[in-house]
C-alpha cells in the first residue's frame, strides 16, 4: 500500500513537473536565443544550446551609445529604492496611527483610504499628468515615486500586524515616559520586520516592472526605466539583442527570488489583497 502510494506520487511528479516546465520553457528559449547570431534565432527544430555563445549581444546593449543598459538599471534601482524606503516609512506611520492612537475622524479616514483602492490608476492619471506638468515634475523620477508612496494595501497589512501586538507592551512604555514616536520606532517596527520585508519585496517588484507610469511620465531617454527602455532595442530587427535586453530586465528580480523566496511567497499568501 505504501509502495503503491509512492509510485503514484512519482507518476504525478512526472506529469505535474512536465507541465511546470512548460512555464519556464519560453524563458529558456529566450535565454538561448539571446546568445545566438540573429540568423539562428528562429531555427526549427529549436537548437537549445547555441553553436557559439555570442556574448556580444549583451555587451552591445550594455555599451549602447544612445541608451546604455547600465543607465536603465541605475534609474530603475534609484526609483525602486526611494519608493521602497519612503513607502515603508509612510505606510508604517499611518498604520501606527490607525492601530494605536485615538483621534477624531479615524474610522472615516480609514474608510476613505480603503475605498480609494478601487480607483483604477487610469482614472487619476490624466489629472496627475496635468498637475505634474504644471508643477514641473513631469519627466522626472519624482513623478513615478510620489504616487507610489501612498499604498493603502501596505497600510492595511501593517495595521493588521500592529493591532495584533498587545497594547500593554506600548502602555508600559508610555508609563516609562516614551512618546508615540519612540514606541513606534523602538518597539513596534522591530516586531514587524517580516511583514515589512514582504512589503519591500512587493514594492520592488511592482516598481521594477511598472510600465504604464514611466510610459506616460518619462520622455527623455536618459531618464527611462528598464521596463520602458527595453522596447527600444530594435526587437524586430535585431531579435537577439532585443531578447538579450529582456533577459537583462528579468535577471535581477529572478536572482532576488532565489535568495528571498520566503518573502515573495509570504507577500502574496499573507496579504492576498494585491492583484
Amino acid at each position: 500500500m505504501k509502495r503503491r502510494a509512492a509510485v503514484n506520487k512519482a507518476i504525478w511528479t512526472i506529469v505535474i513537473g512536465a507541465l511546470s516546465i512548460l512555464f519556464v520553457l519560453p524563458l529558456i528559449w529566450m535565454l538561448s536565443a539571446s546568445l545566438k547570431p540573429n540568423y539562428e534565432v528562429f531555427n526549427y527544430p529549436i537548437q537549445w544550446i547555441p553553436s557559439t555563445f555570442l556574448w556580444q549581444n549583451y555587451t552591445s546593449i550594455w555599451t549602447d551609445a544612445h541608451m546604455p543598459f547600465g543607465l536603465l538599471y541605475l534609474n530603475s534601482i534609484k526609483i525602486a529604492l526611494i519608493t521602497i524606503v519612503g513607502k515603508l516609512l509612510i505606510s508604517a506611520a499611518a498604520a501606527y496611527a490607525f492601530s494605536k492612537m485615538r483621534f477624531p475622524g479615524k474610522s472615516a479616514m480609514f474608510l476613505c483610504f480603503l475605498g480609494s483602492m478601487m480607483i483604477p490608476a487610469q482614472v487619476t492619471v490624466l489629472p496627475r499628468f496635468v498637475l505634474f506638468k504644471s508643477l514641473g515634475i513631469y519627466n522626472t523620477h519624482f513623478s513615478l515615486i510620489l504616487p507610489a508612496l501612498f499604498d493603502v494595501s501596505a497600510i492595511f497589512l501593517l495595521r493588521q500586524f500592529y493591532v495584533a501586538i498587545p497594547s500593554d507592551l506600548s502602555e508600559s512604555a508610555v508609563i516609562d515616559g516614551a512618546g508615540h514616536f519612540r514606541i513606534w520606532i523602538q518597539i513596534i517596527v522591530p516586531l514587524t520586520k517580516a511583514p515589512m520585508a514582504s512589503l519591500a519585496v512587493l514594492a520592488l517588484v511592482s516598481s521594477w516592472n511598472d510600465y504604464f507610469n514611466p510610459l506616460i511620465f518619462l520622455v527623455s531617454p536618459q531618464k527611462y526605466t528598464v521596463s520602458l527602455g527595453i522596447r527600444n532595442y530594435a526587437a524586430d530587427i535585431y531579435v537577439n539583442q532585443g531578447l538579450a535586453a529582456s533577459v537583462s530586465a528579468l535577471a535581477p528580480i529572478l536572482i532576488l527570488y532565489i535568495f528571498c523566496q520566503k518573502y515573495f511567497v509570504q507577500s502574496i499568501a499573507s496579504s492576498g489583497i494585491k492583484g
Partner: protein
C-alpha cells in the same frame, strides 16, 4: 463633538502628524484627481489648449461612446479577455496547488517554475511572445513542421487571432499568484477529511472535485474578482505585443484610453472612458463584498 481633554488633543495632534504624509498624497494625488477626472468626463478638452480650453458639454461624451466603434471593440475584447483568461488561470492554479500540497516530489522546484512568470517583467515577456508568435516565429514553425499545417497563422495581424497571444500571455503570467493563494487555502483543509475519503476508497479524482474544490470556493471567488479586476486593466501586454498600432481585434479599454488621451490629447473624452472602467471595477468590488458576506454567514 465632545470636548477633548488636553491629553486626548495632544494624542490627536500627534496622530495627524503620523498620518500627514499619507494623507497629503491621498488628497493631492488621489482625491483631487478623481474629482477633477469626474468633472473632465463632462467636458471637451484638448489638453494642448490649456486649462482655458475646457468646455462643458454635459453627457455628450457618454453619448458618443455608444457610437465609437473602437470603444465598443475595446469593451467587447476586455470582456473576452476576462471570460477566457480568468477561468483558465484559476483552473490551472488550482490543479498545481492541489498537487503541490504534498502529492508530488520536488514541490519547491515546481512551485518556482510556475511562479517565475508572475514576477517577470511584462514588457520582457511580451517581447518574447512577439518572437514566438511572429509569422516566421517558433509557434508557426511548430504548427507547420509538427502539426502538418500548410502555412503558419497570422497571429498578430489577423483580427480573429490576435487576441490569442494576449490571452495566453496574461494567463501564463498570472497562474503563479493564484497558485500561492490556493496553496495557503488548501493547507487550511483538515487532513482528517482526506483520511476519511481514503478509507472510503475515494479516487484522487473524486477527492479533488468533492472535497478540495468545494472547500476552497471562497478563495476561488476572491481570486476570481481579483483576477477580473486585473484583466479589466490589461494594457502592457497588448501595447508591447502590437507595437505602435493596436488593431480592433485586440484593443482593450486601457489601450483605448491611452490612445485617446496621449495620442489625440482628448482628455475629456478619455476621462469619460476611464470612468466607465471605474464603474465596471466598482461593480466587481461590490460583488466581492456581497460574496464575502454570503460566505461568512454560511
Amino acid at each position: 463633538m465632545a470636548k477633548l481633554s488636553r491629553a486626548a488633543r495632544r494624542e490627536a495632534g500627534q496622530a495627524y502628524l503620523f498620518l500627514a504624509p499619507s494623507l497629503i498624497i491621498f488628497l493631492v494625488l488621489v482625491l483631487m484627481p478623481v474629482l477633477f477626472s469626474g468633472y473632465l468626463a463632462f467636458t471637451n478638452w484638448n489638453f494642448t489648449s490649456g486649462l482655458k480650453g475646457i468646455q462643458w458639454i454635459g453627457l455628450k461624451n457618454f453619448a458618443k461612446l455608444h457610437t465609437d466603434r473602437n470603444f465598443n471593440f475595446a469593451l467587447k475584447n476586455t470582456f473576452i479577455y476576462t471570460a477566457t483568461s480568468v477561468p483558465m488561470t484559476l483552473l490551472i492554479a488550482m490543479v498545481f496547488a492541489y498537487f503541490l500540497n504534498g502529492r508530488v516530489y520536488c514541490q519547491k522546484l515546481i512551485r518556482t517554475f510556475v511562479f517565475i512568470p508572475y514576477i517577470s517583467n511584462m514588457v520582457a515577456l511580451a517581447l518574447l511572445f512577439r518572437c514566438l508568435f511572429r509569422s516566421d516565429g517558433i509557434i508557426n514553425s511548430m504548427l507547420t513542421t509538427n502539426f502538418g499545417m500548410e502555412e503558419g497563422l497570422k497571429w498578430m495581424s489577423s483580427n480573429d487571432l490576435n487576441k490569442i497571444p494576449v490571452i495566453l500571455l496574461s494567463t501564463w503570467a498570472a497562474v503563479g499568484y493564484s497558485m500561492i493563494v490556493y496553496m495557503a487555502a488548501m493547507q487550511g483543509i483538515p487532513e482528517s477529511l482526506y483520511e476519511a475519503a481514503a478509507i472510503d476508497g475515494a479516487s484522487s479524482h473524486q477527492v479533488f472535485w468533492r472535497i478540495t474544490v468545494p472547500l476552497i470556493s471562497p478563495t476561488t471567488f476572491f481570486l476570481m474578482i481579483i483576477r477580473m479586476i486585473a484583466v479589466f486593466k490589461i494594457f502592457t501586454s497588448i501595447s508591447v505585443l502590437s507595437g505602435d498600432i493596436v488593431a480592433r481585434g485586440n484593443i482593450s479599454l486601457i489601450v483605448k484610453i491611452y490612445q485617446d488621451a496621449f495620442g489625440n490629447y482628448k482628455f475629456g473624452y478619455a476621462s469619460a472612458e476611464a470612468w466607465v472602467l471605474f464603474i465596471i471595477i466598482f461593480a466587481a468590488t461590490l460583488l466581492q463584498f456581497w460574496g464575502k458576506k454570503k460566505w461568512v454567514n454560511e
